[in-house]
Amino acid sequence: MDHFLHLLSSGLARGAVFAVFALALVLIWRAARIVNFAQGAMAAATTYVAFAVTAATGNYWLGLAAAVLAGALLGLVVERGVMRHVARQSPLNSVIVALGVVMVLQAVLGIAFGNDYTPMRVPFSMEPLWVGGVPLLSPYDLYVIGAVAMLLLALGLLFTRTAVGLRMRAAAFAPETSRLLGVPVSRMLTLGWTLSAAVGAFAAVLVIPTELGLNPHATDTLFVYAFTVAIVGGLDSPVGAAVGGLVVGVLLSLVTGYLGSTLAPIAVLVLLVVVLLVRPAGIFSARQVRQA
């Protein structure tokens, strides 16, 4: 039972990060109707930035800030430099081009840093705290949960309370009408990529030190988890991404704890197949709204 509580609570911490990474996918999907298959590789690149800055300055927080900024910049470059020029006649085209971005980024990282794992330091202990004789969350888990909660709150406020958030939502839902109303739709699209890549960078810096380890391919599995989260929650739904993240995080934590970590990707695959067969639009999809 103690073991179960420990797995459950640490699963929530992992799930919180998956939720954020999935949210980054949802942001681009809503803005551009593109599943950004390059998001994992982009986040790997920005995590190397965090690593380099932290190594040079000795300051974790500077590294985190640098990663988020680098993410925003990378999102801008990928959208303006590449994705914008893809013909949209088939939805596959943008997926294939994003795969090209994955290959370029991973190859550049491999050439610059090598394919070996690089250890990363974190500012808080990963040893679980004991509460009433039960090992629960570690200080690092608490930090992750707090950081994710603040990010979600900030994004929620941005989209519901600010003019730019309203413009971004309008541009995503109805680009043509939005242009007639004076919304610079193309700039909103770029902003969506920038924001999404920054959010993805943030999530990767939180999760890579704990389980994946830094490596050019570190985020391949993270992307698969996030994709699963987005499918479970529905690609259209930010709330779905949050809930889906927690579900996948707890599932992975339980599978890893009871059956071994090698089974984690298989468990996610099974979950993905089941959700796709049973409810392809996701559990929290805003589908009814879209059909109105």
Binding site: A170, E176, S178, V289
Partner: protein, 255 residues
């Protein structure tokens, strides 16, 4: 002219007497191969309601889309208040005073009534001025005031049309382009909408360019009627005289 949402903005020079607010000449536009509009000329005097009528496929929607920039014309000039409109990017035409309510009203179903309305005035930035404009629309269209927080997809057809026009008004337009506001609405609701347009014109001095397939309703509120046939203007007359010109009606309007 009373103050309110549709009053001209400060700093906008009043139109010179006799000069139309919208002046279209030689407009040719289309999609891909063959043009839909041929050499269209059109003048909309300030403070008038002009109705463009014609059969399905006459080019009415293309005309409005060319004016608001969604279709790039191949030839011709479009001047709004004397300024060249074609040089202005689509996103900036609302700043020039142009509001386009597109076919099928263009209410964004996922946003609430209030968000839809605010979107109309965001180009000026937020703040007090925007709030005032939105409140004036609520005063003008009371049904909307009761549904402030409802998402667009929950509204009735008439409410949606109201919301679309209201959102256009929030942008404080000089010229309102309306594409088939009667589409899919019950006759009673259509009558209400047309009466509302007339009121906006008479009481608030709004200039309206309306395209309609519902010829009778449109001409009953319009000052001037323009008959569009296969992409060409075949008649421009006072609306009343058009309604009573049997030959023209039979030839181009099918009733």
């Amino acid at each position: 002219m009373s103050a309110g949402v549709v009053a001209p903005r400060a700093g906008t020079p009043p139109e010179a007497a006799g000069e139309p607010l919208l002046d279209v000449a030689g407009l040719t536009a289309g999609y891909g191969g063959t043009p839909v509009l041929h050499d269209v000329a059109l003048r909309v005097p300030a403070g008038d309601v002009v109705a463009v009528v014609g059969a399905n496929g006459a080019g009415k929607t293309t005309l409005l889309r060319a004016l608001s920039g969604l279709v790039r014309p191949r030839a011709g000039t479009v001047r709004l208040g004397g300024a060249d409109l074609l040089a202005v990017p689509v996103e900036h035409r609302v700043r020039a005073g142009l509001a386009h309510v597109p076919e099928g009203h263009g209410v964004i179903a996922e946003l609430t009534v209030d968000e839809n309305l605010r979107l109309g005035g965001l180009w000026r930035g937020g703040g007090r001025d925007l709030r005032d404009a939105v409140d004036e629309v609520y005063a003008l269209f009371e049904p909307l005031a009761r549904r402030v927080a409802s998402p667009g997809h929950q509204l009735s057809g008439g409410e949606r049309q109201m919301l679309a026009v209201g959102r256009a008004l929030v942008s404080r337009p000089r010229l309102l382009l309306l594409d088939e506001p009667s589409l899919g609405l019950a006759p009673r609701v259509v009558a209400d909408i047309m009466a509302m347009l007339r009121r906006l014109c008479d009481d608030h001095g709004l200039t309206i360019l309306l395209v309609e397939q519902n010829v009778r309703s449109a001409l009953s509120v319009a000052d001037v009627g323009v008959v569009l046939h296969l992409g060409q203007v075949v008649a421009t007359r006072p609306a009343r005289s058009l309604l009573h010109d049997d030959a023209l009606r039979h030839a181009y309007l099918g009733f």
